[in-house]
């Protein structure tokens, strides 16, 4: 597949997803924490989603990273654009046990820097379920602004527009 660029931050390494990441991915998607992003999912659905996230890099040249802290998988962050979504989206997930320490902020910042300097999309959004307050706060911390209207693919999703001019060029 496309070589996935590896990004490093102060605490984290972001690398392309590999088969060994699936167990953690499936556990996250089986949990209540996945309720804002289409979960909870059974293992068969989780596998198909995971395989799709892996395949996204080959299809589009961008995609999801697995977020590693001290050799432990702590979450995922990604740029994705499945058919039926109006814009390229940045999404983030923090896995159980790693919440509350700014992991998603740090990983998303690295992904936004990469987007601003390499991908350079015309628009980059985050679609966030209206009850997912933690994710909305994070989007605002990252400089995104709430747009009028709802996502055309999901009526309960708000649209946050990112400002890539704030990130590395």
């Amino acid at each position: 597949m496309t070589d996935v660029p590896e990004l490093t931050t102060e605490r984290l390494v972001l690398r392309g997803p590999v088969g060994d990441d699936f167990a953690t991915f499936a556990a996250f998607y089986a949990s209540d924490a996945a309720r804002y992003i289409g979960g909870p999912l059974g293992i068969a659905d989780a596998w198909r989603l995971f395989a799709a996230d892996v395949g996204h890099w080959s299809l589009k040249g961008f995609g999801w990273w697995t977020v590693i802290e001290d050799d432990t998988v702590v979450g995922s962050v990604g740029l994705h654009h499945p058919a039926h979504h109006d814009d390229i989206e940045i999404g983030w997930n923090t896995y159980s046990g790693a919440e509350g320490r700014g992991i998603a902020t740090e990983a998303a910042t690295a992904a936004l820097n990469w987007a601003a300097s390499v991908l350079k999309p015309e628009r980059l959004v985050s679609y966030i379920a209206e009850s997912n307050l933690a994710s909305m706060k994070l989007a605002e911390r990252l400089g995104a602004t709430l747009q009028p209207g709802r996502a055309s693919h999901a009526a309960d999703n708000l649209i946050y527009l990112h400002d890539l001019s704030r990130y590395a060029k």
Binding site: T2, F22, R48, A52, D53, L59, K60, H85
Partner: protein, 201 residues
């Protein structure tokens, strides 16, 4: 964009490559249609796209997957065939789908014979099954032409599918099964000779 590691296979009339983004419209059209009813479809636009991305991710995760079947002469796509082993599958499967307007030319037979030979010889597979909806008579007939035998004792995916077991590599290396398949493929490739019966897939 293409996948850098997927081997390209060639047979008499076909060339098999990894699925690429430019092939997606053909895949989507089939999976949006009634044709896909035995393969979890019809799918909406989002589901079709996620499945297509998963077809490529499968290669990355398992090291094998589904090839896109192209007509060697025209390059147009005809369908897909290959190895399929997502989570919850009891055994590794050989799977196929031919676009609805490309059926009836023996393409699936030729493509599956090619990928099965590759998975056995290069992939080290000691055998394979195909999970087929009992109402999918076209696919059942194809499985039988490929030498598969229904295995009523094998575990199924969810109880609604029948398990067809492919001949082992040893049985396929020599003997009547392979000769019969290759004779039938040759007949399709040369329309002067008509095989007995009618190609459903």
């Amino acid at each position: 964009m293409g996948h850098r590691d997927i081997p390209v296979l060639e047979s008499n009339r076909l060339i098999l490559r990894g699925p690429a983004s430019e092939d997606y419209p053909d895949f989507k059209a089939t999976f949006a249609s009634y044709r896909s009813r035995f393969m979890g479809g019809p799918l909406n636009a989002y589901e079709a796209w996620m499945l297509y991305a998963a077809e490529i991710g499968h290669w990355e995760i398992r090291g094998y997957g589904m090839w896109m079947i192209h007509d060697k002469a025209t390059e147009e796509t005809l369908g897909m065939a290959g190895g399929w082993f997502p989570s919850k599958w009891p055994e590794r499967e050989i799977a196929w789908i031919i676009w609805p307007d490309k059926a009836g030319h023996g393409y699936a037979l030729e493509a599956v014979h090619e990928v099965r030979g590759f998975l056995y010889a290069q992939g080290g597979w000691g055998g394979a099954v195909s999970y087929i909806d009992p109402k999918n008579l076209d696919s059942i007939r194809l499985a039988e032409r490929l030498g598969c035998v229904k295995d009523p004792d094998a575990p199924t995916i969810d109880g609604s599918d029948a398990v067809y077991r492919h001949p082992s590599p040893d049985r396929l290396t020599s003997g009547q099964i392979r000769d019969g398949i290759e004779l039938e493929i040759a007949h399709y490739a040369d329309p002067l000779f008509k095989p007995k019966g009618w190609a459903l897939d």
